[in-house]
């Protein structure tokens, strides 16, 4: 029966191909989107986990915006006074408070911006995964710089090399290169806090203070106290993630609904193709009935054809999604706020199962009416058809 169904489809190659390609493009977009949603959530939570902090003190302004900038390594418009750091360290619930100063140096010639981060020794406590691939693990003196692995590659520097930053007129020595971490740290330039403040003219200013608490249960009290630090406000990673996931979720729902429209249209195409096949082969179907095929066998035949068509469409769609996925990803990353550095598209078994399930449902529903119609043919109709 499978072979017969397949032969029937191949009889009209162009028609079947058109129906399949319509469905395939719809399924491809669906697969991309659902893979993207899963990937986004996972990548965001890894990124937040890796930050190893429970709270962040950022300047006034939208804290989500601010946190996103710190996470992505963009410069903030406003900054914190260093007194905020002292206040945070005085708080009884705070175990570690690490100051951060971030600045971006635009390199229009290379079409990118270099991110410079000023740190002090406390940062190590918050970044347990901070591993040096080569050179020293920490700045030996004020003029040392530690490079993320991508940054080292781009700048072609090894530990011990000299490094001159023309924009800020700073002469530096490369102290170390970090191991690849898969986060935005890979492309950053790390320097001692004081050096960064001097380089970017931000004496006694900070971009953010990352805080780890003695006990996560103290979060609420600590938060209320630290909210009182003048010129600063508290953001927690969970809040931050929630907002982004919500925002992206809203967009995703809109997108998914339009994809479903596309799938519906594709199913209508399959329906039409099958219907035409049934009408065209009316005579043949009658003959089949005459030589002993039962109604249910005819229904089975047409349903098999429908499933073959949608199956081919789904498979082609998934292949298409894998092929064009990279392109889609780079496009999506430009538009999504706080796109993590990790790959977003991850075709999981769940996504695949979802697509295949949808394809099968589409096949059955598209084949229902044509199959019923085919089964109504009487053996006696055979000669009357033409």
């Amino acid at each position: 029966m499978l072979l017969l169904a397949f032969r029937n489809l191949v009889r009209r190659p162009l028609r079947s191909a058109l129906a399949v390609s319509g469905l395939a493009s719809a399924v491809a977009v669906l697969a991309c989107l659902s893979a993207f949603g899963d990937g986004y959530r996972r990548a965001l939570s890894t990124e937040v986990d890796r930050m190893g902090l429970q709270m962040m003190l950022v300047p006034l302004g939208c804290p989500y915006d601010a946190a996103a900038r710190v996470l992505k390594g963009k410069t903030l418009d406003s900054s914190l006074p260093e007194s905020a750091l002292e206040e945070a360290r005085r708080d009884p619930a705070v175990a570690v408070a690490a100051p951060l100063l971030m600045a971006a140096l635009a390199r229009p010639n290379q079409g990118r911006a270099d991110m410079w981060v000023g740190l002090d020794k406390t940062a190590l406590a918050l970044k347990p995964w901070w591993r040096v691939e080569a050179g020293d693990g920490w700045f030996g003196d004020d003029n040392a710089v530690i490079l993320g692995c991508d940054a080292a590659e781009v700048e072609m520097r090894k530990p011990g090399d000299r490094f001159y930053s023309p924009e800020t007129g700073q002469e530096l020595r490369v102290a170390g290169v970090l191991e690849r971490s898969g986060t935005s740290d890979d492309s950053m330039f790390f320097v001692p806090l004081r050096t960064a403040q001097r380089m970017f003219g931000q004496t006694n200013r900070l971009t953010a203070v990352a805080i780890r608490l003695r006990d996560p249960a103290l979060l609420r009290q600590a938060r209320d106290r630290l909210q009182g630090v003048s010129g600063a406000q508290v953001v927690t990673p969970t809040e931050m993630m929630g907002t982004f996931v919500n925002l992206v979720g809203a967009v995703r729902t809109l997108l998914l609904s339009i994809v479903l429209v596309a799938v519906t249209v594709g199913v209508l195409g399959v329906f039409n193709t099958l219907l035409a096949a049934v009408v065209e082969r009316a005579n043949e179907l009658s003959v089949m009935r005459a030589i002993g095929a039962s109604r249910s066998q005819i229904v089975g035949l047409i349903t098999t054809e429908a499933l073959l068509l949608t199956g081919a469409g789904t498979a082609a769609g998934i292949v298409l999604a894998v092929v064009v996925g990279q392109g889609v990803e780079s496009m999506v990353k430009q538009f999504v706020p706080l796109a993590p550095a990790e790959p977003l598209l991850s075709l999981t078994a769940a996504t695949l199962a979802q697509c295949v399930g949808l394809g099968a449902a589409a096949g059955v529903s598209a084949g229902l009416y044509p199959a019923w119609r085919a089964s109504r043919r009487q053996p006696a109709d055979a000669s009357k058809a033409e």
Binding site: L14, R15, L18, A19, S21, G22, L23, S25, A26, V29, L60, G61, C62, P63, Y64, D65, Q227, S230, G231, Q233, T243, N246, L247, G249, A250, V251, T253, L254, L255, I258, V259, V261, A262, T264, V265, G266, L268, G269, F271, N272, T273, L275, A276, E280, M331, V332, Q334, F335, V336, P337
Partner: protein, 393 residues
């Protein structure tokens, strides 16, 4: 028989197939239409909502200014408060023309209805230029100024003494009713500032301050002045123009993605149309042969099938726009439930140009989808076509 009538014949010949194809186009067009009207509606909605607020700058407690702006616009309880003494500092900043303090609180009554109380000073009237009040605004502590929608829902009339919903053993006198503004103000109950603060036990606290500048051109200067004043470190100064810009850029960034996917839907519809026309040509091989034999030129056959395609797409487009209109209300509630920062105005705002874009898209789709099949039909020699009968293509 004219060309048009001839091309309509297919509907009679294969009503189900043709209508299924047209439905495919219709669904895709409906999606495109809703999308375009939504883009427009969302932008306009946010703009007019911010306009109605009547302020250039919003001063709110620390926290996300977008959340704060959304609460100030739609009404809800605030998580934290401003001290009333900040108001004097805000008023002291050069460039500030009006600074109207607001205390907002939302309560739920037993039926789950939300009632929003707003404590304001009379200077709010200078901000809300669009307000038309029958009666007068609240001048004494137990007087109320209620929005049109709230008055309708609660059935209150001017001069009536009423129990305040959601608050136990509290009553007030309705001093005035606000003419419908089309915004969230319609559902609010306005009290005097002091009365509201006492009612909710937050004396000397505000939820937000609406600031109108003497010269809106000086926005950036005024904002930096506000941020620089003594209280500037304890509050968030939100220029509404920035909020609008941010939300706008967010919407814009999704526009391309949504547009791409709508395009995919149209493309899928296009393959369906191509397929249907191919089938029609296959079935009518003999007709084509006869047409050619009695003197129809290639161009004529091409034109016939092309017209048929465009006609299917066009009817699909019209049906799609109709469908979008019918579904608009449900779609709107659904989208609203999914969207952060949804304005109170209608989200789907259609215009004639959107209808135009949809129709043009559908015709373009028809042209593209019909070209290959029509060309194929036109280039079969008549003898082959007649002999092939139904087996063509």
């Amino acid at each position: 028989m004219t060309w048009l009538e001839l091309s309509f014949k297919e509907w009679q010949r294969r009503p189900l197939r043709t209508s299924v194809t047209a439905t495919g186009v219709a669904i895709a067009v409906a999606a495109l239409f809703s999308l375009l009207s939504f883009q427009r509606g969302y932008r306009e909605g946010i703009r007019s909502e911010l306009d109605r607020l009547g302020a250039h700058v919003l001063v709110v407690p620390k926290g996300c200014p977008y959340d704060a702006a959304s609460i100030a616009l739609h009404g809800a309880s605030w998580p934290c408060y401003l001290k009333q003494r900040y108001l004097e500092e805000v008023r002291g900043v050069t460039g500030v023309a009006i600074a109207a303090p607001v205390f907002m609180a939302a309560v739920y009554d037993a039926d789950g209805y939300q009632t929003v109380y707003l404590g304001v000073e009379t200077n709010i009237l200078t901000l809300k230029r669009g307000w038309r009040i029958s009666g007068r605004s609240a001048e004494h502590d137990n007087e109320l100024l209620i929005g049109a929608e709230a008055a309708r829902r609660l059935g209150w009339r001017i001069g009536e003494t009423v129990r305040l919903p959601g608050l136990r053993d509290q009553s007030g006198t309705v001093a005035g009713i606000l003419a419908p503004t089309g915004g969230a103000d319609d559902t609010f109950i306005h009290l005097r500032l002091g009365a509201a603060q006492r009612l909710f036990k937050h004396t000397n606290e505000l939820t937000h301050i609406l600031v109108r500048l003497a010269d809106p051109e000086q926005l950036d200067h005024a904002v930096s002045q506000l941020r620089g004043c003594d209280a500037g470190l304890a509050m968030n100064v939100v220029p509404l123009a920035h909020v609008f810009r941010t939300i706008q850029s967010l919407v814009n960034s999704t526009r391309l993605l949504l547009g791409c996917i709508a395009l995919v839907a149209l493309l899928v519809a296009g393959t369906g149309v191509s397929n249907t026309i191919l089938m029609a040509i296959a079935e009518r091989g003999r007709d084509i042969g006869v047409l050619r034999a009695i003197g129809a030129s290639r161009g004529d056959v091409f034109r016939l099938f092309w017209l048929e395609t465009i006609q299917v797409c066009l009817s699909g487009a019209i049906a799609g726009v109709g469908m979008a209109f019918l579904a608009a209300r449900h779609l709107e509630t659904w989208v609203r439930s999914k969207l952060p920062f949804a304005p109170t105005d209608a989200l789907l705002q259609w215009q004639w140009w959107i209808v135009g874009v949809c129709v043009v898209c559908a015709i373009a789709l028809g042209c593209a989808a019909g070209f290959l099949p029509a060309w194929r039909a036109a280039h079969v020699p008549p003898t082959v076509a007649i002999r092939a009968g139904r087996g063509l293509a």
